[in-house]
Symmetry: C2
Subunit: 212 residues, 2 copies
Amino acid sequence: MENEKGNISTTEQQILEAAKSVFLEKGMDGARMQEIADRAGINKALLHYYFRTKDKLFITIFRNLISNLFEQINLQLQNNDDIFDFVEKFVTNYIAMLEHNVYLPNFIMNEMNRNHENIVQIFESERVIQNVPKLEKIIKKSVEAGEIIPITAENLITDMIGLCVFPVVGKPVILNFLFRGDIAAHKKFMEGRKEHVINLIKNSLTPGKQIK
Amino acid sequence: MENEKGNISTTEQQILEAAKSVFLEKGMDGARMQEIADRAGINKALLHYYFRTKDKLFITIFRNLISNLFEQINLQLQNNDDIFDFVEKFVTNYIAMLEHNVYLPNFIMNEMNRNHENIVQIFESERVIQNVPKLEKIIKKSVEAGEIIPITAENLITDMIGLCVFPVVGKPVILNFLFRGDIAAHKKFMEGRKEHVINLIKNSLTPGKQIK
DNA sequence: GTCTATAGGAAGATAGAC
DNA sequence: GTCTATCTTCCTATAGAC
């Protein structure tokens, strides 16, 4: 049996992939060891042989997902000097990532809101958005150049992520309650979001307006 | 025993309140009938006497929460003619509501993402953001008056809600990974969000700028 | 490492007395 | 309506053979 890298996939890898998919879809509380074993093509006993408990398996998956996510975010936060260029790239890449990981944001936010004792451990070791100072420098430079109005890095990051993530996490809400189940209309809406968000952020940062 | 309205609270009311708090905190999968019974001050048997199954109890709670939420949102969407005034009021009221219901958005979005068969029923009957057309009229009028640049009502609603909701749903993520657990800094950040979001939206809508 | 079988317990739901 | 006691099912986890 081969995985996407062309390597022979070990049982452990199969378990990790199965567990990831089940946890992402069902959450910690809704996930069943039986289903993970099934998707991995093994039985429950073997599953417990590799990862003694459900908790340990969960924490492994959760750590991996968090690490990957923040690695990508940190990458986006460096290597930029033009703020408008940065916004465009960040939003573009973040939305692209979300399209390939639709379950991810709901999973992470939900599990972190239900504070399973498990998750607390993670905070100790991996507090991982390190590149905020780099963004602060870009902002400072752009403000001094008169290109944008002042904004904190934390607000800018929160704005961009919130505008991108909410339509994904809230998809069922938006589709059913805002578009009344009209899938075509919702699809069109989602296709236009990227451009909309980029323009929204850029517009909001552009100086030289008197509000009210 | 009295509830906040000063009425004698019946057993049923106590159950509903207990169930609401447990479901909001733990979610459908994490909630336990035993805990609901405990918080209601009764036992499991009586709980099942009132609501035969956990599913029925859940759907009752979920319906109520959804109805209340969208009732409020619909209220905000009517009775406004100035678009800037509308944005300010909507964001202000929405954030105030969130402060009193911190568990609500994560609960609703998470439960709707895990499509329990239960929830499907709700879509049939209550597709509830009816006042979109009213917002569209305000937007149209404001665009024609040259007060704002064009935007769809759906995008404006999604923007406002996303910018307000994400810091609440993603609080643990933001606090731990963006503010590195610094509660004071995070608190300050949250206190400034309302003004930030209002200005952000207003700025983004203001015309008379050439982007790039 | 991998399996079958089963222990052990938690949780939803019911029976039946009061 | 409300309780105690119990049933039944499901699920995590382990024992032990191969």
